[in-house]
């Protein structure tokens, strides 16, 4: 039985039909919706960009090595491989002519596609070559000839969302591709982002070809607690202690509690027993990220907080303390305070005084400055964002081919979204929605009536 954080795999897969995203209490959700409506009523209709989060600038006061230790960049591929192999054990054990095709539908940024690519590399599976999106736009299905391994071996399409374009010729191509691989009778693994899956379901009824997809189990409070704590490396022999800057309460659940909740598959009930001892931040994070670890990680990074020089002095003092290997006195029950004051650094510091390690403050959830849509965002922005999501990213040139927008309007819309941190150009030269902006983007598209993903 798992007893330490490292023993527990938080990457598990379930049937897509069983996916239930983390939810807030009804009252809290009503307050959140009311706030967004009031914000909409009070908005000024202008195109001025809202400031991007200042958190990263503040965090630059923290030495880089400490920041990377506090919130290590995940190795996305490696993390999910073990859970993937567990989920696919029946498929892996079956013979290739009986295994069939398994589909994995996953959210954007969650690393599942990287895990599948890594698994395919390790097991030497054939990766189906998909042309670039520019070549797909040219039409034609000649590239689909002989894409499956001739020896009947296992194959993988790691990113089905990159194999089509929302264009009449692109739709024809993906329809032919799906029919071809479905009729092949071979053993294959397909990964598809959830937005593309939702679109292809409407356009070509893809779920009738592959009716039992699986997906990554949602990251609720226990899973997030175990995973994010695991991402913080010990430094100088001492761990990081993450506390709410508002209340001083610790963020993470005790490891044993989190493991128990995970094993009992109880997300909210048991975890809430700890709420009087722990900050509610993780609940808010789980809800906002919809159980997606990639989005949760991006928001988590934006939440880390070092306010001023006095904080840095405290960190430096902590480093000196760690070097001198001074032991702090044991404490019994840590004092907590139910009150929430506007500035509670003193109270939070009091709670952290006896921490064994370096204290990192987490912004209060309502104070987080996550990217938000411009106040007058409407059809142009909705077209751009929806297109980027259902394709898993697009080069700018293709956006202008796929959208019925004037070049000037498209460029202007992209610039507005980029200025407020909603979209960015990745290293693959693809424009994508940023992970931290994802909650705002999804909410915007939902309000405007656009097709949403199932996660």
């Amino acid at each position: 039985m798992a007893s330490t954080n490292k023993d527990v795999s938080v990457w598990q897969f379930i049937a897509l039909s069983d996916f239930n995203r983390p939810t807030e209490t009804v009252s809290r959700e009503a307050v959140t919706n009311l706030r967004s409506y009031l914000r909409a009523l009070g908005r000024k209709v202008d195109s001025q960009a809202q400031p991007i989060s200042k958190t990263q600038e503040e965090l630059q006061t923290l030495p880089d090595r400490l920041f990377e230790r506090a919130v290590r960049t995940p190795e996305w591929g490696e993390m999910g491989v073990r859970g993937l192999e567990d989920a696919l054990d029946l498929w892996l054990e079956a013979e290739t002519d009986k295994a069939g095709i398994q589909v994995i539908v996953h959210g954007p940024f969650d690393g599942v596609a990287q895990s599948v690519e890594l698994l395919a590399h390790r097991r030497d599976w054939h990766v189906v070559p998909i042309p670039s999106t520019e070549k797909l736009f040219g039409g034609g299905v000649a590239w689909q000839q002989d894409i499956l391994p001739p020896d009947g071996g296992r194959w993988v399409i790691p990113r089905l969302e990159r194999s089509y374009l929302r264009h009449y010729s692109g739709l024809n191509q993906v329809r032919r591709l799906v029919e071809r691989i479905w009729q092949s009778g071979s053993a294959g693994l397909i990964t598809c982002e959830s937005w593309a899956w939702a679109y292809l379901n409407e356009a070509i009824q893809i779920s009738s070809f592959f009716p039992t997809p699986i997906t990554l189990s949602p990251f609720g409070v226990p899973r997030l607690s175990l995973w994010l704590e695991r991402m913080a490396q010990r430094t100088f022999g001492h761990r990081f202690v993450f506390r709410s800057a508002a209340s001083g309460k610790e963020i993470f659940l005790p490891t044993a509690v989190a493991i128990e909740c995970l094993q009992k598959d109880e997300d909210s009930k048991e975890a809430s027993l700890e709420n009087n001892q722990r900050s509610s931040y993780l609940r808010s994070l789980a809800v906002a990220s919809r159980g997606n670890p990639g989005i949760a990680w991006a928001i988590w990074r934006a939440s880390l907080y070092l306010a001023a020089d006095e904080d840095l002095d405290a960190v430096r003092a902590g480093i000196d303390q760690a070097h001198a290997e001074t032991e702090a006195q044991e404490s019994g029950d840590q004092e907590t305070d139910e009150d929430s004051e506007p500035v509670v650094k003193e109270k939070a510091r009091a709670a952290a005084r006896l921490d064994k390690g370096l204290t990192v403050w987490i912004r209060q959830w309502d104070d987080l400055e996550l990217p938000r849509l411009p106040a007058n965002a409407h059809t142009v922005e909705a077209f751009i964002l929806h297109a980027l999501l259902i394709h898993g990213g697009l080069p700018h040139r293709l956006l202008s081919d796929l959208l019925p927008l004037q070049p000037g309007a498209l460029l202007s819309g992209m610039r507005r979204l980029q200025a407020v941190g909603i979209v960015h150009e990745s290293i693959e030269s693809l424009w994508r929605v940023t992970p931290a902006a994802y909650p705002a983007v999804r909410s915007f598209l939902s309000r405007e009536g656009y097709l949403l993903d199932p996660l």
Partner: protein, 279 residues
């Protein structure tokens, strides 16, 4: 009461001028006017600020609220002008009987429209935000007043239509309070082509438009004509206000797709036009 026994005409019911609270009446009129202005401007402002899905719930509140304002104002003013204590069924019948003939001829259209306006509030043949066609005029209902309805045509023309059209005209409502309504794009093709392939292609054209409401059905129907084949591509936009942009997008991309397929447009004789709405 002695005064009431002498009531024989409407004038007898009226209070003396010195008994009438003119400042109160003026205040009620001004307050009613300002409230109406607030309703006319406030509801569109509110519907623009809130998510689009609330728009067609907020805008139709206008006529109801204006009716309430009117009734409240009426209820406050009338007792100031008329000695309500003297009103009895016999008095009313006697007075109205004499006035009805004269008033009826003079104001019959106005009264008919007002009564029809009250009926529309309850029956809702149209409401603000609906796309309707009345007596050959098509456009979006922007305001439902007490006497008339205003529609804004695609050419940005405001047409005011008295409610009394309700009695004897058909009112075609494209969306009936819903956010989306069907848009149809027509294609006229020369007869020598593979119809199944064209039908699939036009369906793909609709499914790949960013305007398309993907959860609503896309339908392609066709009928054979002496001069060729008439296709009707029927789909729903996410927002009904994008009707014309949507139809244009379908037409532009549909023509391009058909051209790439090598399908030519038909030459339709002028006398054959006019029956395209039969599908």
């Amino acid at each position: 009461m002695d005064q009431c026994q002498e009531v024989e005409t409407l004038a007898d019911l009226l209070r003396n001028l010195e008994e009438i609270n003119l400042p109160l009446i003026a205040l009620v009129v001004v307050a009613g006017y300002l409230t109406n202005v607030l309703i006319e401007r406030g509801l569109p402002w509110l519907s623009d600020r809130l998510p689009s899905r609330f728009r067609l719930y907020i805008l139709p509140l206008g006529p109801v609220l204006r009716l309430i304002v009117f009734l409240v104002g009426f209820g406050l003013i009338i007792p100031e002008i008329i000695n309500v204590g003297c009103i009895s069924p016999q008095n009313v019948l006697a007075i109205l009987g004499a006035a009805a003939v004269a008033l009826g001829f003079a104001f019959k259209d106005l009264i008919s429209s007002i009564i029809a306006g009250v009926v529309t509030i309850f029956e809702m043949p149209y409401r603000a935000g609906d796309w309707v066609e009345i007596d050959g005029d098509y456009g979006e209902v922007t305001q439902v007043g007490l006497r008339a309805v205003k529609i804004l045509t695609p050419d940005d023309t405001v047409i005011t239509i008295p409610h009394q059209k309700l009695w004897d005209q058909n009112i075609a409502n494209s969306n009936d309070g819903r956010r989306e309504h069907m848009v149809v794009a027509d294609f006229y093709l020369e007869p020598r082509h593979e119809a199944a392939q064209v039908r699939q292609l036009l369906w793909d054209v609709a499914m790949t438009s960013p305007f398309t409401h993907l959860s609503r059905n896309v339908i392609v129907v066709l009928s054979e004509k002496p001069w060729g084949t008439h296709y009707r591509l029927k789909a729903y936009p996410i927002d009904g206000r994008d009707e014309f942009q949507f139809r244009s997008d379908l037409t532009v991309r549909g023509k391009k797709a058909l051209s790439e397929l090598g399908v030519a447009a038909a030459s339709v004789p002028i006398y054959a036009l006019g029956d395209e709405a039969s599908l």
